[in-house]
Amino acid sequence: MNLFQSITSALDNSLAKDPTAVIFGEDVAFGGVFRCTVGLRDKYGKDRVFNTPLCEQGIVGFGIGIAVTGATAIAEIQFADYIFPAFDQIVNEAAKYRYRSGDLFNCGSLTIRAPWGCVGHGALYHSQSPEAFFAHCPGIKVVVPRSPFQAKGLLLSCIEDKNPCIFFEPKILYRAAVEQVPVEPYNIPLSQAEVIQEGSDITLVAWGTQVHVVREVASMAKEKLGVSCEVIDLRTILPWDVDTVCKSVAKTGRLLISHEAPLTGGFASEISSTVQEECFLNLEAPISRVCGYDTPFPHIFEPFYIPDKWKCYDALRKMINY
C-alpha cells in the first residue's frame, strides 16, 4: 500500500471497530483531495463520513464538541497550511479541556489529520510544516509518520489515544512511499522514537519525509567518510521521547537534527536545548540543526530552501571534523 492507502486502511479499521467514529472535513465524502477517504462513505454511510463547508475553525470546534460527548471524531484539515483558523480551537479549547475541568470533561477522542510538508510545487500555502507551533501547547499530541506502515499504526494509536491528537501526513509521500502494510489493525505506541539504524559516531534525528533524506546522508557518510551514523525517527513530536535521543547522544557524542520548517523556533531547537542539558559532558561538537530558512516557504526558490541531503552532509562533515 502507499501512504494514502494505509491511511484509508487505518480509518476503515477504526470505523469498523468503533461505532461512534465519524470522519469529516472538506471534500472527504468523495474520497478526499489526496484519496485518503476513498470508499469509506459507501461502506459506512453518509452520516459517518461527511463533508463540511469551508470553515476550519468550525471543523475543529465541531470536532471538539463531538469528542466531548464521547464519540470518536476524526477531522481532516485539507492542508496543514490551513490549520491556523483552527489554532484557537486547538490550543485554547481542545488542549485545555481536561485540565480546566479537573478531568470532568475531555475531548480525547478527537484526532485531526492534515497533509504536511513540502511537495515540490506547493509554494507558500501548500508546503508548511507547522508542528513547532503545536509543540508549544501542552495537552495535545503531535505525530508525524515516515512511511505507510508507520502511518497506519500511528494513526490508529492516535485515534485510540485518550488525548486530542494532530496527525500530520507528509503529502509528498502519499503516492511515493509504498510498503507492505497489514490489513488488520495494529498499533505503534506514541511518544516512542525509533532507532532505524544503529551507529556510533553521530546521531541523526528527523521525522516525516526528512527521515529518508537523513538515511541517505547516513549511507553517504559511511561510504565517503567511514562515519557510522545512528538514525532516529522521532515519530511523536509532542510529547517526545527524550530518553531514546539522549541515550543515543550519550553513545555517539554528536547530534544533528533536521526538519523542513524554519530554523528559528523550529522543533529542533527544543531537542537541541534538552539534549545539551542532559548530555552536556558527552558532546564532542555543538549540536547541529539543518532546517529551512527563516523565510516564508518560497515559490520559486524551493529547491534551495529545503534542507536537502547535501546541506545535511555538509553539516555532518563539519561536525565530524570539529
Binding site: 472538506e26 471534500d27 468523495f30 463533508n51 463547508p53 469551508l54 470553515c55 475553525q57 468550525g58 497550511d81 490551513y82 491556523f84 483558523p85 510545487h121 506547493g122 509554494a123 507558500l124 500555502y125 501548500h126 530554523l263 528559528t264 555543538p286 547541529s288 540543526r289 539543518v290 532546517c291 529551512g292 530558512y293 527563516d294 523565510t295 516564508p296 518560497p298 515559490h299 520559486i300 526558490f301 534551495f304 530552501y305 529545503i306 534542507p307 546541506k311 545535511c312 555538509d314 553539516a315 563539519k318
Partner: protein
C-alpha cells in the same frame, strides 16, 4: 479598390494593416452608442436597484471586448505554459479546457465579465482585493500581461519579482492575490476604513467566492463594516462550486447576496458585463454616499476546474459546461450585442483578437526567456529593516542577507 484593400489587409499583419483597415472601417458608419436592456437584479434590503437599461458606447465596447479577450487569451496561454511545465506550483485559472496533468493553476475563464465589468464601474483610485483567482484582476487593475505571465513562470520580471507566483499578484490599489480562503475579506474591510478615514471618496471592492462565504471571518468583516459604515463593497463571485462542492451541498442559504443580513445586497448576472458594470456603479454610488457597506453577488461560472489538477468534470456534467459555454459566454454576449447594434463589425473584432493573440505570444516569450530571480533574493523582504540583517540558513554556516 475596396476589395484590394481588404485583400491586402488579410495578407499583411501587424501595424501596417491598421491604417488600411481604419479607412475601410471609417467608411462603414458605425453607431456611436446603443442602449441595451439588462437583467434586473434581485434586491435585499434595497428599495431600488441598478437601472435595467444601459448605454454602451462604441469606444467602451471595443475597450471591454479587448480587455476580456486579453484576459481569456492570457488564461489559455497560462494553461498551455502550465502543461509545458514552464509554470509550476499552484495555478487557479478562469478558463474552460480539460487538464490532464497533475498541476495547480487557478484560472478565471468566463469570469472575465466580472473583472472587466467591475473595473468599468469604478475609478482607478478605488481599491480592490480578491482571493486566488486573481490573474484577470491583476490585468484590469493596470499591470501588463508580460508582468503577469512572468510572475507565473517565477521570473524576476514578474510583478512580485517572481516570489509570489499565481496567487500573489499585486498592483497599485490592488491588494492581491491571497491564498488563504476568506482571509482577504477582513483586509478589505480595513482598506475601506482607510478610505473613509482619508476622506477621498474612494471605495474598496472586497471579493470572495461561494466557498469562502462560509468562513467565519467574513461575518466578522460584515459586522465591522456595517457598524462603522465603511465604504466596502463585498462581492461574492458565485461560480456555483467551491472547488468540487456545489453550493447546495455547502451552504445552508445559497442566496449569497442576502448573507450579509443587515447589509443590503443585490444579485447580479455575472456573465453580462454590462449588468456587472451598472451594478458596480450603483454599489459604488451607494458606498460613496456614506450609507455604509453593500453586498453584490455575481452569478458566474468557470469552465475550468478549480485548479489545473482538477479536470472539472467529476462533480458536474460536461453538458452543463457546454451549455454555459454556448449560451452565456460573456465575450460572445458582448460581441453579439455590438455586432447586432452596429457598434462594431465582425472583422474589426477579429482584428482585435489577432492583436491580442500577438500581445500574449510576446508576453509568453518574455515570460519564458526572462531569468529567474537571483538566489541572493531568497532572504529579501522578510522584514522592513535597515540595515540589512542576516537570515539563518539551513545550517549554522549558511546565511542569507535580508534587504528591504
Amino acid at each position: 479598390m475596396r476589395k484590394m484593400l481588404a485583400a491586402v489587409s488579410r495578407v499583411l499583419s501587424g501595424a501596417a494593416q491598421k491604417p488600411a483597415n481604419r479607412v475601410l472601417v471609417a467608411s462603414r458608419n458605425f453607431a456611436n452608442d446603443a442602449t441595451f436592456e439588462i437583467k434586473k437584479c434581485d434586491l435585499h434590503r434595497l428599495e431600488e436597484g441598478p437601472p435595467v437599461t444601459t448605454v454602451l458606447t462604441r469606444e467602451d465596447g471595443l475597450k471591454y471586448y479587448r480587455m476580456m479577450q486579453t484576459v481569456r487569451r492570457m488564461e489559455l496561454k497560462a494553461d498551455q505554459l502550465y502543461k509545458q511545465k514552464i509554470i509550476r506550483g499552484f495555478c487557479h485559472l478562469c478558463d474552460g479546457q480539460r487538464c490532464v496533468l497533475y498541476c495547480f493553476m487557478l484560472s478565471s475563464l468566463t469570469q472575465e465579465a466580472c473583472c472587466v465589468g467591475l473595473e468599468a464601474g469604478i475609478n482607478p483610485t478605488d481599491h480592490l482585493i480578491t482571493a486566488y483567482r486573481a490573474h484577470g484582476f491583476t490585468f484590469t487593475r493596470g499591470l501588463s500581461v508580460r508582468e503577469i505571465l512572468a510572475e507565473l513562470t517565477g521570473r524576476k520580471g514578474g510583478c512580485a519579482k517572481g516570489k509570489g507566483g499565481s496567487m500573489h499578484m499585486y498592483a497599485k490599489n490592488f491588494y492581491g492575490g491571497n491564498g488563504i480562503v476568506g482571509a482577504q475579506v477582513p483586509l478589505g474591510a480595513g482598506i475601506a476604513l482607510a478610505c473613509k478615514y482619508n476622506g477621498k471618496d474612494e471605495v474598496c471592492l472586497t471579493l470572495y467566492g461561494d466557498g469562502a462565504a462560509n468562513q467565519g471571518q467574513i461575518f466578522e468583516a460584515y459586522n465591522m463594516a456595517a457598524l462603522w459604515k465603511l465604504p466596502c463593497i463585498f462581492i461574492c463571485e458565485n461560480n456555483r462550486y467551491g472547488m468540487g462542492t456545489s453550493v447546495e451541498r455547502a451552504a445552508a442559504s445559497t442566496d449569497y447576496f442576502k448573507r450579509g443580513d443587515f447589509i443590503p445586497g443585490l444579485r447580479v448576472d455575472g456573465m453580462d458585463i454590462l449588468c456587472v458594470r451598472e451594478a458596480t456603479r450603483f454599489a459604488a454610488a451607494y458606498c460613496r454616499s456614506g450609507k455604509g457597506p453593500i453586498l453584490m453577488e455575481l452569478q458566474t461560472y468557470r469552465y475550468h476546474g478549480h485548479s489545473m489538477s482538477d479536470p472539472g468534470v467529476s462533480y458536474r456534467t460536461r453538458e452543463e459546461i457546454q451549455e454555459v459555454r454556448s449560451k452565456s459566454d460573456p465575450i460572445m454576449l458582448l460581441k453579439d450585442r455590438m455586432v447586432n447594434s452596429n457598434l462594431a463589425s465582425v472583422e474589426e473584432l477579429k482584428e482585435i483578437d489577432v492583436e491580442v493573440r500577438k500581445e500574449i505570444e510576446d508576453a509568453a516569450q518574455f515570460a519564458t526567456a526572462d531569468p529567474e530571480p537571483p538566489l541572493e533574493e531568497l532572504g529579501y523582504h522578510i522584514y522592513s529593516s535597515d540595515p540589512p540583517f542576516e537570515v539563518r540558513g539551513a545550517n549554522q554556516w549558511i546565511k542569507f542577507k535580508s534587504v528591504s
